[in-house]
């Protein structure tokens, strides 16, 4: 039964509109991501054409206002970078990764749906910002101080910040989900190192996302607070530099977050259409790992023109040159793969090859920017614009190739090859007409619509190229729409040398992907029946036997066949034990539908819309109130809903064999939260250094800010943590009364923490001294802002924990959390103890030192 036909488990068919609102299936979500992101591309692309129309000649005044141009530039960049290119890639990731690793779905299907709906509603919030006095107009990098309310006073500017926060929430949910899935739900025998190249690229991408986006979230939350409650961060000494640090700590890994999925598509398509395993696969993968790590130590090359010291500039110049080396290896690997194989010039391959050529140009021109002295000249010019697009849009080019590559799998029909090649030709010529002249016109200042007439010729060519590039997409839309209805039907695998697991099942795949359970232990992909899987699962752990390269060398191995088998490449000896679980003999029922993710995210959207204009009151109060109320209903509904997402009966789970999905997901989330708090605490430390460490203590903090309230809160929080530990001890003893008593104690201690904090804050708000005649409140100075905002973020975490307890205590009274159910208690404990740990550092930093 195909994906399109399967509507078992009371799951609506694909033809039903309802299905698309309730689905939690990874393939449906993947399609939703793809379609939504393409709409974003159309919007952001239209904005780009508006810009290029303005730039057709200097002083054309097409947009009639500087603000209009600034908004178009900013919205184009923000939408393309955040809301198009990565979500487009994650459309493929959602659809393809579970198939490639032999899983039935992602680890947390409802979380996956939430991730999509949060993404969608964040777009709506962004679109609404255009109608709130104008959208954000400070450039996609949102540099301070342009980003603060003084220069960005429109409600629309605040909405964009909040939309980005919502988007980051979506990204974080997705990262946690993909990491847990890839670590815990691989087919038996599929070792981490053998992941197919696309899945490997997504795996490394989500690792980078987990940390990079957390830093961005810190920056955005601070900026949001500056807009909504007037804290002092990016407007004080060191504030502008702080923004650049936070933004680029995210921003440089973001380049690879965007490019890695494209690299994965390139590697897949190069293998498939050269009929050759990628040359030096092991080194290719190692190079990707190295880049993922190095991506976090190069961010200051975006800051060579700022006042950071020369030593650190030199250091980051070295690390930047260093990160180009693994890329050299990858590029040569792809080139050698073409040389060693026999190329089939299909549309997906052409786009991948085009992407490689564009990326080489983008990479070479980027080396100039990595050198301090040259960067002094090139920074802030069209050289950067051209380089940036040659890199990022090269990624987009490969992803367009990915759309052609997996189109037959998703629809069961083949696209028109001639139209595909025509698309590529128009696209590639248009692309280079658009961006290459910018290298010639590099002296044009970036983000400015007036330029020297001597560069008008190049800008005219660029504008022609822009419209040509834009037009090329309509060839693709026509092709794909027509082919979806009347294209040639394909079987499981339309590509002669495709070998990854998605090509070993129907097109489109059935709801749960495969008719059996994928298994690589025999050295190639095979499928076990439920009974065979259960027999294997009930046996002892194995050494895994041999494992295949998940995505691989057709020339060295037999190809995927229509009979449901696909082979990988070279055999590899397994080093790790295969983790198995013993399960019941009957396959577990899995749910695929829930409308609560949509409800919760819609509620979040309303709440954020209300927040955006909360200072204006009126209808915004209504939105905020409705959002808050609906959020509460949504979360309770979601918690109450019986939704079953079974873990696989047998799976490769190294190195987390004995860590259940939920617990592992919680740890990934907490790790991301470490970076979020790190961003806040780091901001405090940075600003304190910038303003003078001891000056801060002596001049910016009142005498009334004493240690004692902090010490009391430390006692309360430590005691509450201990109470959670006792709740778990009680759960081990099957003592419901013990659990209720311990959780109640935790709740009371947490409430005590907040009351104590409230009293302390109230006192500080209303002090009257010579130095602080109007109290010490959020906006008094940078010290008060960092204190209230950082401890406030922590207090918000405490409140979330207390809300969870309000749900858990009544359940405990009804006998929950004893026996097997105690896991939920443990997961809450992980969160609560983390909140405790954070306070252990906030206490000395904000009360003693």
């Amino acid at each position: 039964m195909s994906h399109g036909q399967d509507h078992g488990h009371d799951f609506p068919p694909m033809s039903s509109v309802k299905r698309w609102f309730v689905t939690t299936n990874h393939k449906d979500i993947g399609i939703l991501y793809l379609i939504t992101s393409i709409f974003v591309m159309l919007l952001a692309g239209a904005l780009a054409l508006v810009m290029r129309a303005e730039l057709f000649s200097p002083g054309l005044d097409f947009l009639s206002s500087a603000s209009g141009y600034n908004q178009a530039v900013s919205a184009h960049g923000l939408l393309m970078v955040f809301w198009f290119i990565s979500p487009f890639a994650f459309g493929f990731a959602n659809y393809i990764v579970p198939l490639q690793i032999g899983a039935k779905d992602l680890a947390f299907p409802r979380l996956n749906a939430m991730s999509y709906w949060a993404y969608l509603f964040s777009i709506l919030l962004f679109v609404i910002s255009f109608f709130q006095g104008g959208t954000f107009a400070g450039g996609w990098t949102m540099y301070a101080p342009l980003n603060i309310p003084t220069y960005m006073p429109n409600v629309g500017g605040t909405s964009v910040v909040l939309a980005l926060i919502m988007f980051v929430a979506a990204v974080t949910m997705g990262s946690v989900n993909f990491l847990t899935t890839i670590y815990r739900m691989r087919a038996p025998g599929l070792r981490m190192r053998d992941l197919p190249m696309f899945s490997m690229s997504i795996f490394l991408t989500v690792w980078m996302m987990l940390f990079a986006f957390a830093a961005l979230l810190a920056a955005l939350m601070i900026l949001g607070a500056q807009h909504l409650v007037g804290v002092n961060y990016f407007n004080v000494d060191g504030g502008s530099l702080l923004w650049t640090h936070l933004f680029w700590f995210f921003g440089h890994p973001e380049v690879y977050i965007v490019f890695f999925p494209a690299l994965g598509v390139m590697a897949e398509t190069f293998q498939t259409f050269t009929g050759r395993r990628i040359v030096g696969r092991k080194w290719f993968v190692l190079a990707m790992v190295l880049v993922a790590l190095q991506s976090f130590i190069v961010w200051m090359h975006h800051m060579f023109l700022t006042g950071i010291n020369l030593q650190i500039k030199t250091l980051f110049m070295v690390t930047t040159i260093g990160i180009s080396l693994p890329f050299d290896l990858m590029v040569f690997s792809l080139i050698y793969t073409m040389i060693k194989g026999r190329i089939r010039y299909t549309t997906p391959f052409l786009f991948s090859l085009g992407a490689l050529i564009l990326f080489i140009l983008g990479g070479i021109t980027g080396v100039f920017l990595g050198a301090v002295v040259l960067d002094y000249e090139f920074r802030g010019t069209y050289w950067v614009v051209a380089h940036f697009h040659y890199v990022m849009f090269a990624g987009g080019t490969a992803l367009v190739g990915g759309l052609y590559y997996w189109f037959p799998k998703m629809t069961g029909r083949m696209y028109n090859e001639f139209l595909g090649k025509l698309h590529f030709a128009v696209y590639f010529v248009g692309f280079n007409l658009l961006y290459f002249p910018m290298f010639s016109a590099w002296e044009t200042p970036r983000r400015v619509f007036v330029f020297d007439t001597s560069m008008a010729f190049w800008h005219k060519i660029a504008t022609v190229g822009a419209f040509m590039l834009g037009f090329s997409f309509f060839i693709m839309f026509y092709n794909l729409f027509k082919s979806m209805a009347s294209g040639e039907e394909v079987g499981e695998n339309p590509w002669e040398y495709a070998t990854t697991a998605e090509w070993a099942t129907e097109s489109p795949p059935p709801l749960e992907n495969f008719t059996g359970i994928a298994d690589y232990r025999g050295g190639k992909l095979s499928f076990l029946s439920e009974s065979e899987a259960n027999a294997a699962a009930s046996g002892t752990a194995t050494d895994g036997g041999t494992a295949t390269d998940g995505g691989t060398p057709p020339a060295e191995a037999s190809t995927a066949t229509g009979s449901g088998t696909a082979t990988g490449g070279a055999l590899a000896t397994a080093e790790q034990a295969l983790a198995t679980r013993t399960v019941e003999s009957e396959p577990e029922h899995a749910d695929h539908a829930s409308y609560w993710p949509l409800v919760v995210c819609f509620a979040g959207f309303l709440a954020f819309l209300g927040l955006s204009g909360i200072q204006q009151g009126g209808i915004y109060y209504g939105f905020a109130g409705a959002g808050g109320l609906l959020s509460a209903i949504g979360f309770v509904g979601m918690a109450q809903e019986s939704f079953h997402a079974p873990e696989p009966t047998i799976a490769e789970q190294w190195p987390f064999a004995n860590v259940p999905n939920m617990k592992l997901g919680m740890w990934f989330f907490l790790s991301s939260d470490v970076v979020l708090f790190g961003g806040f605490i780091g901001s405090y430390l940075f600003l304190r250094v910038a303003n003078g460490w001891m000056f801060w203590e002596h001049e910016l903090i009142p005498e009334a800010h004493v240690t004692f309230p902090g010490l009391v809160n430390t006692y309360l929080l430590l005691a509450s943590s201990f109470a959670v530990v006792l709740a778990l001890v009680a759960a081990h003893k099957n003592s419901s009364r013990g659990i209720v008593a311990s959780l109640s104690a935790t709740w009371l201690l947490g409430v005590g923490f907040l009351i104590n904090k409230g009293i302390e804050w109230q006192h500080l708000f209303h002090i009257h001294t010579d130095a602080f005649p109007n109290g010490w409140n959020l906006a008094t100075n940078v010290a008060s802002s960092t204190f209230y905002l950082t401890t406030g973020l922590h207090a918000a975490h405490v409140i979330v924990g207390l809300i969870m307890l309000l749900y858990m205590i009544p359940r405990a009274m009804r006998g929950a959390y004893t026996g097997e159910d105690e896991a939920s208690l443990e997961y809450f404990g992980l969160y609560w103890h983390f909140v405790d740990i954070v306070w252990l550092f906030l206490f000395p930093l904000f009360y003693i030192l």
Binding site: H245, L246, I308, G678, V725, F843
Partner: protein
């Protein structure tokens, strides 16, 4: 349960260390040797955090890879903070 005593002992240590940190603030050490006091106080916080993570969050009994997840986040946060602060020294 044998571990209850262990958990209780750790709780006591955590409370004592917290009190010690507040006590140091009252001594001359913070006036005369600020950065030494800074090191001692942050060191105590680090020990407390390790105890909570290792025992209350059971990291000690989890596969080491779980600890590495947390350390990854910690490393990222420290890299950002220290390099950013150094850049303006």
């Amino acid at each position: 349960m044998a571990r209850t005593k262990l958990y209780t002992a750790i709780f006591v240590v955590l409370m004592v260390f917290s009190t010690t940190q507040a006590f140091i603030e009252q001594t001359d050490l913070i006036e005369n040797a600020y950065w030494t006091a800074f090191g001692v106080i942050i060191g105590l916080s680090t020990i407390k955090a390790v105890l909570v993570a290792g025992y209350f969050q059971h990291l000690r009994w989890e596969p080491r890879a779980v600890t590495y997840i947390v350390l990854g986040g910690l490393f990222a946060a420290l890299a950002l903070t220290t390099a950013a602060a150094y850049s303006i020294l």
